[in-house]
Structure formats: C-alpha cells, structure tokens
C-alpha cells in the first residue's frame, strides 16, 4: 500500500516536472522572439512574476474563468468527447443569467437572487451543449464540428439580444450592451483584492474542481466516464449506456461553461456586453492540456495562464510590448505539449543517428 502511494506520488511529480519544463521552454522561446523583435526580452517573464506577486488580484480575476473552462474541457476529454463549444455555452449562460437578473424583483434577497441567476445560466449552458450532444448520440454527427459552429450562432445571438430585445435604451451612446444589472444580483468581489474585479467566482471554481474530482474518482458516473472514454465497445458490452454518459458529460461541461458566463456578467461586467468573452473556451483547452486533463492540475495551470494573461495586459500598459505575446506563449505551449507525443518516437532515432555518426 505504502509502495503504491509512493509510486503514485512519483508519477504525479514526474508529470508536474515535465509540464513545468514545458512552461520554461516556452517562456525562453517567447523571450527570444521578443528580443529578436527589439523589445525587452524578459518582459513576459517579469509580467508573470508580477502577476504572481504584487498583482495577484488581476491573476485571480483571470484565473477564475480559465480554471472553470479548463474543467469544462477536462470533463468531456475523459470521455473522449471534444467540446469546442464552451464559448458558445458560456455566452448562452451569460444571456440567460442576465435575463434572469433583470427580471427578478428589485428588493429580493441577495443570495437567493444570485442562486436563481446562476441556475438560469447553468441550465442554459447545459441545454445549449445538449444540441451537439444529441446530434452526436442520435445522428453520429462529429461533435468537434457541431460544437465549433454553434459558437457562431451563440455569438450572433448575443449580438442580436444586446441590439434588440435586451438593448440598454437609457444609454446615450450606441453601446452594444444590456442594462446594468440590479446590485442584488452582483456576485461579490473579494474585498482583499479591491479595486480589482477578482471575485468569489474563484472559490466557486475551487468547489467545482472538488466536485469534478469527486465525480471522477469516487462515483459510478466517474467510472462510466472513464470506461466510455477508454473503450466505448467495452462499456456497451458491460451493460453501460455510452450514449447516456456522453449526454451526461456534455451537460456537465455546458453547465460549467454557463457558470463562467454568469460569473463574468454578475461579477465583472455587471451587464451583458457583446463580445465580452476573450475566447475563454479555447484557452480552457490549453489549460486542461497543460494540466494533463487532471482536475486538480487544472487549478494550477489555470492560475499560471491567469498570471500570463494578467502579466500580458500589464506589460502592454507599462511597456510597448503588445499583449499578443501571451498568445505566442500559449501557442508554444501547445506545440511543446504536442511534442510529448512525438518525442518518445524521436528519441530512439536520435540515439541511432548518433551511434551511426560515431
């Protein structure tokens, strides 16, 4: 038993070490890119260091949606389903949350109104995720394509809402946004981090992570997700219902995405803004990948990417380095992670080539 634990611990450590190496390599490459372009080479590293120390508030603000999106991705990934529609589900959740918040009576209890707003967002996100899930289960439609395309529908739908039925007619300028939400539906910000918009959504993210971890390792649903992901034929043969499991993971994923929408609206923007989401869904893929699709790891990789994003924004404000550099870092991380699949095959070849050269 003890031995087993040790093995597990060393396994986790070696994976963590590998991922940290990936980060270091990508930062070095990004710094080289900066240096070559004539900027201060260490700007991005400084930005991250600041993001993890003096400016931790901004990091927490960005880490919250990134962790949750990462969790939304990692749930489906375990079942070998690919939900590229987190962004769309997030928008739908934000719209439903906003609609609920605006419809609630002004003087309602703060906690109860927040619960109602979040429930509306969660249900909307899950329902929107059901569209590609049902298409996959009943018509064998590839969910990669359908989830991706549904994102555009969601984005344009929000555009329509904030220019039509939900438009803020009191605003003088032509702002593409809904009315400001009543204060009793605002998700509290963390006062310690004032004046940043870091909010208690971070705690929600941690709770969701704990829930997902519990589902994965302690519940029958978790076992079914694992089996469906590793061998759907076996799952069917053993009497499980792979189709139902796929619907379940997509619903969970969509619900988490909807929650991100609600958090962004109720804690950060306080209104529904068109295009408020800077592709959290796609960033979530990178977050989950870097965490090796482990829910606990997602928290750490979410914080790292939060620091990166935050650092990038600060960097742009304080120096003339464009924040797009953060995207370069992300891209390099994706490439180095993909190299994980290539390296083991490459190693023997390199060794053989060396031998031959001698």
């Amino acid at each position: 038993m003890n031995k087993l634990m040790n093995k597990k611990v060393t396994g986790v450590l070696s994976i963590t070490l590998r991922q940290v190496c990936l980060i270091i390599v990508s930062l070095i490459l990004a710094s080289i890119a900066l240096g070559v372009s004539g900027y201060e080479p260490l700007a991005i590293v400084k930005g991250i260091v600041n993001g993890l120390t003096s400016d931790i508030a901004g990091t927490v603000r960005w880490a919250t949606p990134l962790i949750l999106s990462g969790l939304a991705i990692c749930v489906t990934y375990k079942a070998e389903v690919f939900n590229l529609g987190v962004d769309g589900q997030l928008y739908m959740g934000a719209a439903a949350g906003t609609a609920a918040a605006l419809a609630l009576p002004e003087g309602m209890n703060h906690v109860i109104s927040l619960i109602i707003v979040f429930l509306a967002a969660i249900i909307a996100g899950a329902l929107f995720a059901m569209i590609p899930a049902l298409l996959k289960v009943f018509l064998d439609t590839n969910e990669v394509v359908s989830t991706l395309l549904l994102n555009f529908i969601a984005i344009l739908f929000i555009e329509y809402l904030v220019n039509g039925p939900m438009m803020d007619r009191t605003a003088g300028t032509n702002l593409n946004a809904s009315e400001v939400l009543p204060e009793n539906t605002w998700l509290p910000r963390i006062s310690f981090f004032d004046p940043s918009s870091a909010n208690i959504g971070f705690y929600i993210a941690i709770v969701v992570m704990l829930l997902i971890t519990f589902i994965f390792y302690k519940t029958t649903l978790g076992h079914e997700i694992k089996m469906v992901g590793s061998n759907p034929v076996l799952a069917k043969y053993a009497g499980m219902k792979p189709k139902r499991t796929i619907l379940q993971v997509m619903a969970i994923s969509g619900a988490i995405a909807g929650m991100v929408g609600a958090i962004e609206v109720t804690a950060v923007q306080h209104r529904l803004l068109s295009g408020f989401n800077p592709d959290f869904g796609f960033d979530g893929i990178v977050v989950s990948l870097l965490a090796n699709n482990n829910p606990i790891g997602v928290v750490f990789s979410g914080i790292f990417f939060g620091a990166l994003k935050n650092g990038g924004i600060n960097m742009e404000r304080l120096t003339d380095v464009p924040s797009a550099v953060t995207e370069i870092v992300m891209a390099i991380i994706i490439i180095t992670i993909s190299a994980k699949f290539v390296l083991p095959k490459l190693k023997p070849r390199v060794a053989a080539a060396k031998k031959g050269g001698e």
Partner: protein
Amino acid sequence: MELAVEMLNISKFYPGVVANDDVSLAVAKGKILGLIGENGAGKSTMMNILYGMTKSDIGVIKVHGEEVKIDSPNTAIKLGIGMVHQHFMLMPNLSVLQNIILGKEPVKNGLIDVKTAKAKIQEIMDAYNLPLNLDEKIYQLSVGEKQRVEIIKSLYRGANILIMDEPTAVLTPTETDKLLEVMRQLKEQGCAIIFITHKLREVMAITDEIVVMRKGVVTGSLATAEANTELLSNYMVGREVNLEIPGEAYRPGNTILEVKNVSALNQRGLPALRCVNLKVREGEVVGVAGVEGNGQSELIEVISGMIRPTGGQVGFHGKDVTNDPVRSRREAGMSHIPEDRLKMGTAKNCSIRDNLILNRYYQKPYSKNGIMDNKKLMGLADNLCRDFQVKTPDSARALATLSGGNMQKVVFAREMEADPSLLIAAQPTRGIDIGAIESIHRKIVEARDNRKGVLLVSAELDEILSLSDRILVMYEGEVMAEFKRGEADERKIAEYMTGAKRQGGDSNE
C-alpha cells in the same frame, strides 16, 4: 551442414524483467526451426533482436558464420533476414504488386519499371508455388492470401532466412495446410525458417529442430524426430499438461437459453443470421463450430443484447428478453467472454482493477447511491487476481502490462465472479498459451459440472470437440447440423462448416 543463423548466449533485460537469459539457437540452411513457448516466454523478444527491432544486452548473432550487428530491420533485410508478422504490414488500398515492391521499386528512367518488377515476382511465385493476382487490391484478399503477399515481399527483398511469427493463428485449417506446403517448398529451395507457434501439431508436422522456451530461458532443444507433443508441452509449462479434462456424466437439466427463429443483420446491414434456433440447458456445453464470419459474432451479440434481432426471440430462464438491455440480462445471470478481448473485453489503458469491477462497481455493497466504495472494490479486484492467478504485482497497473493469457484470465475472472447461470464463451483460448488454455478449459468444464449452461463458440475444432456435449455447425448464418458428443469427428464437421453438406437435405446452393 551450413548454419544460416546463430544466436549465441543472448540476454535481454527490461527494468524488473529478464526477457531472455542466455538463450542460444541456430538454424541451418534448408531447415525449419520451431520456436515454441507460452506467451511471455521470450520468443518474440528473440525474434525482435534478430530482426533488429530491439538490441540484446549480451550475446552474439552470426549470419552465415559471420558475426554481425543488427541495429535495424533494414540491416536485417540486407543480411537476407525476412519477417512475416502476425499482424500484416500491408497497405490495404494498394495493389499486391505495389505492396511487394514498396520501398524497393526497380527504376528505369526515373519511373517505376513495372515490367521488370512483375517478371521478378512471377519468377518467385513460380519457384515457390505461390500464385497471386498482382493487380488485386490488398483489401480484396483473404487472410491466407495476405500472408502469401507477406512471404513474397520478404523473398522479393532477397530473404533466405524467414522468421514467421505465429503465421497459422489467423488461418483456417485448409489455409494452414497450404501454408505448411509453401514452407516445405521454401525449405527445399534452401531457405532457413524460424517458425513461431503455439500449435504443437504443426511443429511436429513441419519442423526439423525445436527450441522450447519458458520464462526467458531455453527449457528444451531437440530434433523433431525425438520429440512428441506430451514432451513438448511439459517443457513449455514445466509440468504435466492435460487437455483431456474429465467431466461428470451428461445430465442436461432445465432449458436456460432458448433462441427461436432469430434473424439479424451485421454491421454493414447485410443478413448475418437466418432463422437460427438453439437451446442451452443446465449442465451442458453447447459448441458452435464454424469458419469465422458465418454469423457467430452476431448470434452472440443478439443473445447478449448488444444488437437487436430483425426477427425471432431470445428466451432466458423462460422469459422473453429479446428487447432487454445488456445490463438486465447480465443481472439475470448471463456472462459473456467476448471473442476479441482487446476490442470488446477490456480497456487496456485502464487499470486491471478497473477492468475487473465492471459487473459490480454500481452494485451494493460496492457502491451506494452512485458513490463507490473504492476499498471494497480494491479488495474484490485483488481477490480475483489471486483466485484466477493473474500474474501481476499490483492490480492498479495498466491492463496493457499483462500478456494475452493473463488478460484473458482477467476477463474470465470478471465474468465468472458474477456467478452466471449461462456462460457465453467466444474464442476463449485464442492466442493464449497452452498453460492458460488448460486452466480455462478446466473452468469451462467446472461451470458445466456446477449445472451452468455454456455456449462455446470457437474456430478451433479441437476445442469444440473436446468440450462440447452438443455441437452445432454454422455456415452463412444458418445452423447446418447438430451432433451429440462422439457423433462427429473433425472431418465430418468440416464438411458442414464449408457448406458442402447440410443435415436433412443438400445445401441450398
């Protein structure tokens, strides 16, 4: 007698495992060496070393008397060593010709010289009596023909030393006979062949020398003339093996399974079963013989609930279960050992434990309100590993770390633990070694003697004949004949298997 290949004092270590320990073998020109042993005995490692896919830690290889270093399959091919893999290395969408010349195309003016290639291949085909249509695409060929392509491919590259890795595992009896004939031809032309197999009969029929391996060491090395199957199986498992397992007298009881007029389609939507009727009663083994692909898979899938029949009924303990889901049938006492343990029976990236608990993970007392008791499940898995002698240091290890025989033990353990009243066993001993075959046959007989019903589907006639109380023969989705134990021999069944005959009238073809 000139030695073609010598492998001297080969040792190969993997972390924690000694794959080969001081193994030596040699094969002369124009001779066939049989290399036999259980799964995991180290045969494949030896051949991978010879073919340059891996390197030995200690030891010397000599080809035609000269010491050589083989660091890649390319080097091996240059030395005249060819390998016919168990899983074919062919491009299904290319023609036979294209597959054979792939990577070694004769070139004329910068273009592939098809004429020269064809002539050269024709020469080989004539010399070894290996007829093939060069323009056919690989996917159109039967398994036996694909194997012929592999052999020609090796010969085309100038191989005079052939490694054949379990070449008969995928062949029908007739195809096997043809292959053995080809091997004899190759031998006469001066090829040296290393023949890896599980089947002792074939070893006895074709080889000149035999090397037996067990757990990485050579346990026996002798001339075929001095060998017999009993002696060889003793060398292989290190103890007496008895495949004749005595059971109790045949006393069938109540009907457990009744399949009535069942018809079904295969995955491509073509009729696979036509009006099949069969019964399995308590305390009997019903064997279904037939060449693979004649509806056996669909029959099992209909019975186990994985596909719905287009007509007919499945009765289980007197209840119509035709439209019941898989899980309710399993809970009612149906267990199923699938024909393909990797595709259907296991998840190889999950742990051995995860694979063992599939029937129980959601049931009390292992689970309550959807929350699993991991401790109890761990205990269940560890007990099963012990009771069914799954060789692993830890059930938390990935299933892929097990050998084929041990994987099958995992499947068997899981399915028997459910205490089934009906056991469906499809190809239960495919690709596993003789020691594991014996223990699995024993378990089947034990289940029968414990008044359970067993439906045994197998392409191995030996297995069907030795275990079944009644034998059904299937051909093109129909039951062609039914025999009681002792009524039929291999030859008689083969006639019905190929559709040449049917009981109660001639074939309708």
